[in-house]
């Protein structure tokens, strides 16, 4: 077992010793700080509401927003949405929690597509690069089965995804706390769900929002890993995986009328379609069906990666 941990530590070292990995993290950090600063300066975010005067604060806000809307018509949609939210607080007599680190983390869930992207790049390279560098030969002539080496590489990809995810969460939290402060231990917020406003826990939203995205990340990283193993070409693996990640939904919409559309991977990757009140892409699909489909795809990807990695000769370039 310790032998296996050493293999993983080898793989992680190879990922993190490369400068481009650190550049990825720097880019992530810059984006997080950038959106934070943008939110702080451009958006007029009320950081906190006093317990005795929050009603007047909200009313003032509404008045300002209405004024603004009359002057600048393009702000209408956004402002009326905020007004609606404020009215909800007033009507239900709830003191809003204000904007803080938790909200910031929740809004940064879109950064997970960037984490997916970076994970795809790592997954695509982890086998193919060994072939490109020629180091695969020295790697495989050790008393370790190819299966074990393959698993160590796959686990390393997942660990990279986990570390990067944690980086986004923690760095967003720190940036949010510095720029906006912390809005309490378990803040609630208003989110629009199925056309009406709902008062929900921010932490709950963070967990479900990030969670749904993680499924897509896992599937696409595994796909890139499989392509990397089958074709031994990282550019192809990166290109295909990223392309599919972005057009996946369009593919589903394009074929939505066909009876087999529900078997397409991308019809099943977004499990939030089964969350309360949402309607699935294609009628008749259930959560159980999607999970089964995802499992089948996952097993097929892993099997292909394994067969090609362990059974094929390592021949000259």
């Amino acid at each position: 077992m310790s032998n296996f941990l050493k293999l993983i530590s080898n793989e992680l070292k190879k990922i993190y010793v490369v400068k481009s990995t650190w550049i990825m993290y720097i880019v992530l950090a810059v984006i997080i700080v950038g959106t934070g600063i943008l939110n702080n300066t451009v958006g007029d975010i009320q950081n906190s509401y006093e317990s005795d005067s929050w009603r007047t604060q909200l009313e003032e806000e509404n008045a300002n927003l209405t004024q603004e809307m009359e002057d600048e018509t393009y702000l209408e949609t956004y402002n009326s949405m905020v007004i609606e939210q404020n009215n909800y607080y007033l009507e239900n007599d709830i003191q809003p929690s204000g904007y803080g680190a938790w909200h910031f983390i929740m809004e940064n869930k879109m950064l997970l597509s960037l984490v997916s992207l970076l994970t795809i790049i790592v997954a695509a390279g982890i086998i193919a690069n060994e072939f490109r560098w020629g180091t695969i030969k020295l790697l495989l002539i050790r008393p370790i089965s190819r299966t074990k080496i393959l698993i160590s590489k796959y686990v390393s990809v997942l660990l990279f995804a986990l570390f990067t995810l944690l980086f986004v969460l923690i760095f967003s939290g720190i940036t949010g706390a510095i720029l906006f402060g912390i809005e309490g231990m378990n803040p609630y917020t208003l989110l629009e769900k199925n056309g009406s406003l709902e008062y929900v826990s921010v932490i709950g939203e963070i967990i479900s929002g990030y969670g749904y995205q993680l499924i897509i990340l896992l599937m696409m990283a595994t796909f890139a890993f499989m392509i990397s193993s089958v074709f031994r070409n990282s550019a192809l693996a990166i290109g295909l995986a990223i392309f599919l990640m972005f057009v996946g939904n369009q593919i589903v919409f394009f074929f939505a009328e066909r009876s087999w559309a529900k078997y397409i991977l991308f019809a099943n990757t977004d499990l939030s379609q089964y969350a309360d009140g949402n309607t699935p892409f294609i009628e008749g699909m259930t959560l159980g069906f999607s999970i089964t489909m995802l499992l089948i795809y996952y097993i097929v990807f892993m099997l292909l990666a394994w067969i090609f990695f362990t059974k094929r000769d390592v021949a000259g370039n």
């Binding site: 032998n3 050493k6 293999l7 190879k14 030969k137």
Partner: protein, 306 residues
């Protein structure tokens, strides 16, 4: 000396419909330095890749210390240290990091052992440098260091002196001989530089078009070299041929005015003496020593790739 370190049993490899390796069988003894030579495309690298399990055998088997590379891969490959083709390392890591990487893959390699192999190949000063900045010679040394880490009983080196300067070649050569003689390591060296092989190896195997054309003891070669190729200009030549046949039982060939035949060096004066006694004029005597290179080209003929 007589124990087999590696045994190839009728090894065959077919890729597509083409048979690349057509039944190789040979044995490499412990403590032996075996030279593996042949023209480009003969199948040297394919054979080496099969020896270390990078390529599967279509038929036959490779036994390493009795363990089959097919059915007992881990035990077999544990005994092997190798460089296959170029000594490719991770260019973005230092020499030290590269060695540590491979050391982690086999249990029981200590920091002291890493230090030891670095000293053996003389790379102490370059350990903190990124391999991407290494010269070919330095990478070759690091490749050898990597192959030695786990004290293998079989060392397979593909073109090990490639990129080394003359001093480096001599150093590595001396080290390979030492490994074989003192540590009883079997060393397999592939090369196309015959003079190189001649100096380093005990025995050579010549491969052509996927077949082993010949194996030959290098030192035996030196021993039989007592038998010289003698070229002698005499007249009348017919009479000389006759005398060689009757007195020395030697079949001589006539080439222009010269007689060609094989003879031990010590007997040359005697032959001349006899010729003189029989009133045969001797104008010129020369001897040529057939080199390994001539034999190589005799054996492989044209450098053709099927």
């Amino acid at each position: 000396m007589s124990e087999a370190a590696m045994e190839l049993v009728d090894v065959r490899k077919t890729i597509g419909k083409k048979e690349i390796i057509k039944g190789l069988s040979f044995t490499i003894q412990k403590g032996e330095v075996f030279g593996f030579i042949g023209p480009n495309g003969a199948g040297k690298t394919t054979t080496i890749r099969m020896m270390v399990g990078l390529m599967k055998l279509t038929d036959g088997d490779v036994l390493i210390q009795g363990n089959s590379i097919k059915s007992n891969y881990k035990e077999a490959v544990r005994e092997v240290g190798a460089i296959v083709e170029n000594p490719e390392m991770y260019p973005f890591m230092t020499g030290e990091q590269n060695l540590a990487h491979y050391a982690r893959m086999i249990p029981g390699i200590t920091k002291d052992r890493i230090k030891e192999v670095v000293e053996i190949v003389g790379l102490e000063k370059a350990m903190k440098e990124k391999v991407g900045r290494y010269s070919l010679g330095m990478r070759q040394r690091l490749g050898i260091a990597q192959a030695l880490l786990h004290k293998p009983s079989i060392l397979i080196l593909d073109e090990p002196t490639n990129g080394l300067d003359p001093a480096g070649i001599r150093e590595i050569r001396r080290y390979i001989r030492k490994l074989a003689e003192e540590n009883n390591v079997a060393v397999i060296i592939s090369s196309h530089l015959l003079s190189e092989i001649e100096l380093m190896c005990d025995r050579i195997g010549i491969i052509k078009n996927g077949e082993l054309v010949a194996t030959q003891q290098v030192h035996e070669n030196v021993a039989t070299d007592n038998l010289m190729q003698v070229k002698i200009e005499v007249s009348p030549s017919e009479k000389a041929i006759e005398i060689l046949k009757t007195e020395f039982k030697i079949q001589a060939a006539l080439e222009g005015a010269n007689l060609l035949f094989q003879l031990e060096k010590e007997k040359i004066p005697e032959v001349i003496n006899v010729f003189v006694k029989h009133d045969i004029s001797v104008y010129q005597v020369s001897i040529t020593k057939a080199s390994l290179e001539d034999k190589f080209f005799d054996l492989i003929g044209e450098n053709t790739i099927e």
